[in-house]
Symmetry: C2
Amino acid sequence: MGAMKSSADATMAASRALLGHVARSLQGALEHVTLPQYRALVVLAAAGPQRMGALADTLGVHPSTLTRTVERLVAGDFVTREAAPDNRREVVIALAPAGEALVADAMARRRDSVAATLERLSPDEREAVRRGMELYAAAAEEPGAPDLLTLGM
Amino acid sequence: MGAMKSSADATMAASRALLGHVARSLQGALEHVTLPQYRALVVLAAAGPQRMGALADTLGVHPSTLTRTVERLVAGDFVTREAAPDNRREVVIALAPAGEALVADAMARRRDSVAATLERLSPDEREAVRRGMELYAAAAEEPGAPDLLTLGM
DNA sequence: TGCAACAGTTGCACCCTAGCAAGTATTGGA
DNA sequence: TCCAATACTTGCTAGGGTGCAACTGTTGCA
């Protein structure tokens, strides 16, 4: 009876903790770029260099909106923008080192805080966490890219 | 050796799944209010009616910024704003029904999608998830309010 | 009573996102 | 070769968020 409820409660509690990790990991990045800008960096980090059109589609924004966003990211040296080699009307955006670092750092910070949390557990407990998390991740539908992007992944 | 790493990996994977739930649960709310506005609603839902000053402190924004934000929330009937009964220079903000519903709906949707995921597991597996999640939540430092607020909780 | 501290609001300036419409350059096919 | 489709940019408009400084009303103490 209460079995479902209590696992749901526990999962919600854990989700708050995990959310905290994500949020903190984002905090640093958001001092340098806005959330929409960061979302663009995340897409580039995940999918590699992109044409403007493809990027706009993935982000779900109007091409003209992306033009300005990219403009700012270029100004901040987070991405590069150059004409495609084979097609001069296409523009390819790629992560610049600073942009790469921004995303990588956030990822690393997130992973570190998860690891730090796990470190407080005994090996047995850690194993229990691993199994629980694995089961949950397997049971969950893979969240779509657009979903994750809402929160900057 | 790899024990820590694999639990960390599993946890990161689960965190992506949970993030997906959170993001989807927020999607509906963000069609009606902006993220900063939603953050205010979350604080009010969690801590009850607040003075402007207290709310601004919690949200970490300038009082004048909060004035406009609240202005918009009042216009949308998401909150009420009235002078404190005992002190006429203080202004108390409280959730209006629509605001309450907005937050409650997001919470409910999130909980539903977690429950739906758990439903795909056997009772034994569910129990393993419960235990893992509980252990993780207990080991994690309680994420501070400001952290959670970054992502709209 | 009067004045300083307090709680919010308003004016101002600035930046960012966002979409639409029009414009430009490029490409590819008729 | 020429014209339409494509890919992106630019001009325009609008709405938010944000902080600072100045202002208003209120309170509380000397």
